[in-house]
Symmetry: C2
Subunit: 356 residues, 2 copies
DNA sequence: TCGTTCTACTTGAACGATTTAGTACAACGA
DNA sequence: TCGTTGTACTAAATCGTTCAAGTAGAACGA
């Protein structure tokens, strides 16, 4: 089984190997009758079509693009934002008859370099034409391997100058709008919830410097602070674990239970905001009245929850990344997509009596 | 660039091609010093390691397993159950240094066979050693192609006898326990929420026969009915759209707003149950007191919500599927994993006054 | 001293396709 | 009638590895 090749088909059909190949790849290069005959003998021989590996080798095209898959991305799949982008990417991939190869890697961890290094070898073995560097740590050795291989690389959130394509939003500018919105509403004590790169077991309070090394989203953070201005007092916390509703809930609990509860809470993602919303509900607080809350991304659930947030074209981000990787006619190499502040009921004016 | 091959490295290092190959694949076959020299010249030449396509061709191993990726699976990624299974699969894949290839396909649709057929060609091009037939419709042409290719196929929820491996739970038996639990609590009017295979725009009421063709989960459905027994009156609904919290919410709304509101609601998944829970909250109903509710799967959020459900080893399902595909020492071909009814606060005795 | 075993490499044949350059033959216009 | 063009196919090289088989030389025991 399985050892039926182009040659066996060619012999059985009484034509040359190239003709059989053409029957599959270039139907206009041969007469309809011969093609018909070839395809029929292929069927009776149980030939399942050209061997993909051989085809990849000869044509120098893998018909697949890579996507790094760490534990973190596995969590990311619970995040509607990632799913939306992946859906956009898959749409283009389908259009180009191209697969999406998840490359399982150990997440970067300076504590155990040899394990990470070993898992990075998977990047060598990946049969891909290009790579979407999503959730791939800047220091991960797999990144070097990808560069060495000369893989076309596209990122949606990356600072690496070696990228062949970038699909961005103005993170900082968008975040600034959120900050300004909150400031204009009169809030002077604001909590910020960031995501956390490191594993902690509890909510940690973060200062501006720590944040740089602890979180993925300091552009947003900087934007928030810019928009809020110097007169607003800010308390930043990072929840334990990954970007999730659960994490948001614990961060929200932490902020809401403080003596000096902030009058507004800003989060770096809608998922975290939904968690904070839960924490508010549990405490009988009404969003937009007792405490204001804003998110980021505008995932579908944000509208249902009445969450003020920044809308970004999520699926479009994936689509463009896909085009950059797959469509030779798409020559743009750096796209900055528009965002929009969407004000909903979860933000409102600071109450004049800012006590509990 | 990129045209550095084993041969160029071999020439530069003054050794044979096989020696260079061995330097990468069988370090014990050559002396440490030669290996060192080879690796160094490889580095200076900018050789990124053996070309994966060529390696796949020669060794007849793709180092990747396939996963069908339709729009439906893209929604499935929002489902913690799928994510959990995928995480288990990825764990094993990482262990075996193997990639996970998502193969984008059009979902099966008898209305437009040619589009589906065309997209199924992606199954021909996939460089994979095996396939996890998850979310792959039984009638999808890609399934035939996979069979023709002689791909090793494993399923976690499939009736196809051509599968090389099955990782199952006793769906019907587990569902029966749920039904019995509800019956013993005294409920005599029960709503069942199933998932829907077809696209409808609103909640539809389903009878036993329709259900067969409309849903993916009729084993569970049959189990529910068996456990409930003949004395319980059942109203079955299928929400519009895919398995999601949102869908559960609308199905729940439909059942709860009926004149003859059921005293208990059973769903085929926790995700749907969480939606029903939302609908109950919106109506000020307390789960387990006013209306009982049970789910299926025991995703992490179920415990938080106090949801009665069936626990199944989710990640383990993915892990075993991975082993069946990748581990030659794993010879088991059909595994039925244990389940357990987990009773939490969302189910309680039927109230003696069963009126609104 | 001779045969045997071991180590460290090399040789050359696959793996299964695509692609370039060609050939044979028919059709065509002048 | 001859050269040109086009159609339908073929021959042979090539993609970059891995792997089975082979060899040269050192080391060893009797």
């Amino acid at each position: 089984m399985g050892n039926v090749t182009l040659r066996s088909v060619a012999e059985a059909a009484g034509v040359s190997v190239s003709t059989v190949s053409n029957a599959y790849n270039k139907p206009d290069q041969l007469s309809a009758e011969v093609r018909q005959r070839v395809l029929e003998t292929a069927k009776t021989l149980g030939y399942a079509g050209p061997n993909p590996a051989a085809r990849s080798l000869r044509s120098q095209r893998a018909r697949a693009i890579g996507l790094v898959f760490t534990e973190r991305l596995s969590y990311a799949f619970s995040d509607p934002y990632s799913v939306g982008m992946l859906a956009g990417l898959a749409e283009v991939a389908e259009e180009f008859q191209t697969g999406l190869l998840l490359i399982p890697l150990r997440p970067f961890d300076p504590e155990r370099p040899e394990e990470v290094e070993a898992s990075a070898e998977a990047m060598r073995a990946a049969v891909v034409d290009g790579l979407l560097a999503y959730c791939l740590d800047i220091d991960h050795p797999a990144r070097e391997i990808a560069v060495d291989r000369g893989l076309r690389m596209v990122a949606t959130d990356d600072k690496d100058p070696r990228m062949d394509g970038l699909v961005l939003i103005d993170e900082r500018g968008a975040a600034r709008q959120v900050g300004e919105h909150i400031r204009r509403l009169g809030h002077r004590s604001v909590g910020i919830v960031v995501d956390s790169k490191v594993d902690s077991s509890a909510v940690v309070e973060v200062d501006d410097v720590q944040h740089r090394s602890m979180s993925f989203s300091w552009d947003r953070y900087d934007g928030f602070r810019e928009g809020l201005g110097p007169d607003v007092s800010v308390q930043t916390v990072a929840p334990p674990g990954h970007n999730s509703v659960e994490a948001g809930r614990s961060a929200g609990a932490h902020l809401l239970d403080r003596q000096d509860r902030p009058t507004a809470i800003i989060t770096v993602s809608d998922v975290l905001a939904l968690g904070v919303l839960d924490a508010m509900r549990q405490r009988g607080l009404t969003p937009g009245r007792d405490v204001s809350l804003s998110g980021f991304d505008d995932i579908p659930a944000a509208a249902d929850a009445g969450l003020t947030t920044v809308r970004q074209p999520i699926a479009e981000r994936g689509r463009i990344a896909g085009r950059m990787l797959l469509d030779p006619d798409y020559t743009e190499r750096r796209i900055v997509l528009p965002t929009e502040l969407v004000v909903r009921s979860s933000t409102g004016p600071a109450t004049t009596s800012p006590t509990r």
